[in-house]
Subunit: 422 residues, 2 copies
């Protein structure tokens, strides 16, 4: 079994590497044609894709998957349309490959600069949502990489149907079909083999729940761009505008609950007026959010339904209508709290005070740090990346939302007219 | 023993992480002061450092180290001066930390940009040369990181004396002395423990021979920026200027032999005139270089002392006065040869032909790709980085010479005036 997995992955890896060589040099136009063709194949084959998805949904019922998982798994006309539209949007983005920047003369007379180049072969390991098959493949294709896709076994039929559309589009546009390969088996040993394919695969991007990502990080011999949890904070400073603070806090918590850039803990400076604190908490309660406060919060909001926050609350990503609230002595205390409990995803300060805002931007060490804006903006589309393949909570290579540029690297180029070193 | 190593490394890691927090926020001026102080401590303590080095040199004799290793190990007045001067040069570089770029408005009204931030804790594992202690610590300090230095056991006394100067300078300037820590033991288990300190260490940079780097890459749980061998190529195209081709080839091979950016294989287009081919080879022979040619090369240079190149020659990093030469049918064949045998370090084309040069720049996938310049320019100083901690042959995070910027990452910053997501 293990040996089989290694052999299968070896073949996929070798094919991907060969495809990556052609992809690296592919013209923007050819890549865009392939993306547009993939979009039209997905639209044309939507009945096939839905039939495949029906098989996955049936298996999901039989295996007793919960409703949230089934919702993520489900494909319908609208979702298939959105997938095709996503590919068209990727086609419309600027091609990062080959871009040269900072070309400058050196005292030796040579010109030195950077050229943006693809990473090579990218392994994507993901769960449930079949649309990741199209999104991830599209981003890898546009950035000149080859993709090895390993979706969840619960979505194998849907993923197969979608990947077939992409591969057909690659062939139609003269690109190697192995630039997109789906690991067409539910054997878990294949994940292990993929994580050990360092001779073929340049980076692994896991997308899914915490346990998947931790397994990948622990086992992988290939570098990983990983996205762990989002324990995001909003800090209402002493000099925040009350209405703005209320708006941002409510939006950060209640705009969507199950997303990684939702606020999980609200920190409030002790000088913020009790009326403001209570108004924010009342707004949360009105939205049906369970509020868990520190002792001071509960004292300030006496008579309101504020539960007791336990220590583990500060370290919890609820992903649900629950919010922990803590009143802080100072900006320093807030920064320290964030340093201790944040997952390094996204934090926001609400303040009109220049020094407080500047310090927060500099001192908070998260992939996104905001001033007077909702944490919900931490997103590839909102940042102008056009699309995202994930949000990196790592420090190396890329932090925060990862778009096309995150799937590339830079090589040095040197232009001379005969210079030698003396 | 193993358990001891883990405990020792745990302490060093915890201390480094605490120091990194202070270093991340340190002002440029304070960091520069510390670097200048370290430079003057190194000058003031040069007798102490030389005495320590004498102990290492004695042990080297006893352990039968070869002359090349002993030369790398040796410290004298000039070398100590160069170390101090290196730190002063790092102080003079621009501070990358806190630099904000590409701040731009998005349709939502938020401004989005990048702020450059330190990586955190950097582990450096190196061999022989004690000057790496000062260079690496200086670069980590300036880029706002904390360093854990693990030098070779053969240089332990020298490294200890140098690290002491750096730590004194940190204290004198009000920075945490644990921003620079030397693993003060020759126990090899400590390297293993360092490679597994992923909870404390953000990146490992190995500097040394191939076996060290391969061990680090194989064992490390921490991301590695690695520098493998340099099998560098110069390709003389059909339309190269003969005199320029000769100059570049001779410089790339003979300027220094033992360096990673020296040429190891010379590729020549078949249309290059036999007189030019022979002139280049004669120049190499005149410099005492052993030339190993393909059959066509040997036929073109009949009567000259050209040895037979075996297949393994194309894959060999000689680091010595040996050169392999191959005549190629075409640019495509040269690009393919490089794809197959290059280590992805540095390659250069010599040509006056625009299309050939452009294609070479785009199609060759190495960390530095050059047009009409000697491969010897692949160097942090020559590229304007001011200093380098190594040359990355990896694809992720940073490729080619790694300077201060390579020791940093970027976080996103968002400036708003109350924006929420709708």
């Amino acid at each position: 079994m293990e040996a089989d997995a290694v052999m299968i992955m070896d073949t996929l890896g070798r094919q991907a590497k060969a495809a990556a060589k052609a992809m690296r040099m592919a013209d923007s136009k050819v890549k865009n044609d392939a993306l547009m063709l993939a979009a039209s194949w997905i639209r044309r084959e939507s009945q096939e894709i839905i039939s495949a998805n029906v098989l996955d949904m049936k298996a999901a019922d039989e295996n007793g998957l919960d409703d949230a998982m089934k919702d993520r798994l489900l494909l319908n006309g609208d979702r298939i349309d959105a997938m095709a539209e996503g590919l068209a949007q990727i086609a419309a983005l600027a091609d990062p490959v080959g871009e040269i920047d900072h070309l400058r003369y050196r005292p030796s007379g040579i010109q030195v600069g950077h050229m943006r180049v693809p990473l090579g072969v990218i392994g994507i390991i993901y769960e449930s949502r079949p649309n990741v098959t199209a999104d991830a493949a599209g981003l890898c294709l546009k950035s000149g990489n080859a993709a090895i896709l390993r979706g969840g076994s619960e979505a194998i039929h849907s993923n197969r149907a979608i990947a077939a559309c992409l591969r057909r589009a690659l062939v139609d546009s003269g690109l190697p079909q192995n630039a997109v390969q789906l690991v067409d088996s539910t054997d878990r040993a294949l994940v292990g083999a993929l994580l050990k394919s360092e001779q073929y695969v340049d980076v692994i991007i896991p997308r899914g729940g915490k346990s998947l990502i931790e397994r990948v990080a622990a086992e992988s011999r290939v570098p990983v761009i990983k996205h762990l949890d989002g324990i995001c904070h909003v800090y209402i400073d002493a000099s925040a505008k009350p209405a703005m603070a209320l708006n941002i806090a409510v939006n950060a918590k209640t705009h969507r609950y199950g997303v990684c850039n939702a606020m999980e803990t609200l920190l409030i400076h002790q000088a913020v007026h009790a009326d403001v604190v209570c108004a924010v908490i009342q707004a949360m309660l009105d939205k049906g959010v369970e509020v868990r406060g520190c002792e001071r919060t509960r004292a300030v909001c006496e008579g309101m339904d504020v539960k007791v926050a336990a220590d583990e609350d500060w370290a919890t990503e609820y992903l649900s209508p629950v919010l922990s609230v803590r009143i802080m002595d100072s900006l320093d205390a807030a920064v320290d709290h964030i340093a201790e409990y944040s997952s390094g995803h996204t934090e926001s300060i609400v303040t009109e005070n220049y020094e407080a805002g500047q310090r927060f931007l500099r001192e908070v060490d998260s992939s996104s740090v905001m001033w007077n804006a909702s944490t919900r903006f931490a997103d590839g589309f909102e940042y102008g990346l056009g699309a995202e393949i994930g949000i990196s909570t790592d420090r190396l290579h890329v932090r925060g939302p990862v778009g096309l540029e995150g799937l590339t690297s830079q090589k040095w180029i040197v232009l001379g007219n005969g210079q030698v070193r003396s």
